[in-house]
């Protein structure tokens, strides 16, 4: 079955427009190739994809090396907001960008729900080479 990119794309767009304080979201493969995005103007999808994959891989490795157990998310906290990277499925990584006023409890819940919604369209059959 082909992957329904437009469904993923519209889910991301809806997430960015409907959840307050969210500025962008993007999905990529674990080796850093863009799948779908809704990002602020001027932000390059390819670069965001590579950076998010690198950050998740390094974060997960740090988690394992320093015995932190299963990694829930990698959080970058900046003066102007957060970048939150989570593993979505075995084949997909999600990054969400928010402003600095976001409530972390709310956004963590929203991200988890988004992942649940996206998961069926992002679990690729191994034989299905896109």
């Amino acid at each position: 079955m082909p992957i329904n990119y437009s469904a993923i794309q519209s889910a991301l767009q809806e997430f960015v427009t409907s959840v307050s304080n969210v500025q962008g979201a993007s999905i990529m493969s674990p080796d850093g190739l863009a799948i779908a995005s809704s990002l602020p103007a001027g932000m390059e999808e390819e670069r965001v994809a590579a950076m998010s994959a690198a950050m998740l891989a390094l974060g997960e490795r740090i988690g394992r090396e320093l015995s932190r157990g299963q990694i829930e998310r990698i959080l970058v906290e900046g003066e102007k907001g957060y970048a939150i990277v989570s593993s979505c499925t075995e084949d997909a990584v999600l990054i969400v960008l928010t402003d600095e006023k976001v409530k972390l409890g709310v956004i963590n819940l929203e991200v988890r729900q988004l992942i649940d919604r996206l998961r069926p369209s992002l679990t690729f059959a191994k034989t299905n080479v896109a």
């Binding site: 190739l33 690198a54 891989a57 490795r61 090396e65």
Partner: protein, 189 residues
């Protein structure tokens, strides 16, 4: 009392599939740290996994020196990692897959990138996979990079990244260059 340990940071770079992760795994005394992910790009048919952040390994060198080996990802989309790692480099090993001439362009781009970002760090080129029949002879690799071999100061070796002896030989050559440069600087100042 143990003399304070000197740390030399070596960046191992090169195009995808050149053998960077293997190079570090071969020599590291600690279990090397990798950030491999399943490859889904055009390299997937060459190898199942690819480095997305960095590799790390460590080798003790003589009584009071340790080499910290940092491997970069190969694909250009990870060039922000090249920057992060090159910024700290004391020495650079560029691995070039001798059997894949179509990657020489990517390798020469990386070479220029490294030269520009870490102009002080000594660099050497090690040709990997040179045991394969279709591999280019080491003497032809520099010209293929667009470098005049007679003028270039860049040492080139031909190695097998899975052979500890070859990896050690590469690192010794790099440390020697580093020591020469440090001495030259000391005399000049």
């Amino acid at each position: 009392m143990k003399a304070p340990e000197q740390i030399m940071r070596v960046v191992v770079t090169g195009p995808v599939g050149a053998g960077k992760t293997t190079f570090i795994k071969t020599i590291s005394e600690i279990e090397s740290i990798d950030t491999d992910r399943r490859a889904t790009d055009e390299m997937a048919h060459l190898k199942p996994t690819t480095t997305v952040a960095m590799d790390f390994g460590r080798v003790t060198f003589g009584p009071n020196m340790a080499l910290h080996l940092y491997g970069t990802p190969g694909q250009e989309r990870f060039n922000f990692m090249w920057d992060i790692l090159l910024r700290q480099a004391h020495g650079i090993v560029l691995l070039a897959p001798a059997h894949r001439p179509k990657d020489f362009f990517a390798a020469s781009r990386l070479l220029r990138y490294a030269r520009q970002r870490a102009p002080e760090a000594p660099l050497l080129i090690a040709a990997t996979h040179s045991d394969l029949p279709q591999a280019w002879p080491i003497a032809d690799i520099l010209p293929a990079f667009g470098i005049d071999a007679s003028e270039s100061q860049i040492p080139t070796l031909s190695i097998n990244a899975t052979a500890e002896r070859d990896v050690a030989r590469t690192l010794i050559a790099l440390v020697e260059r580093y020591a020469e440069r440090s001495n030259a600087k000391r005399i000049a100042s």
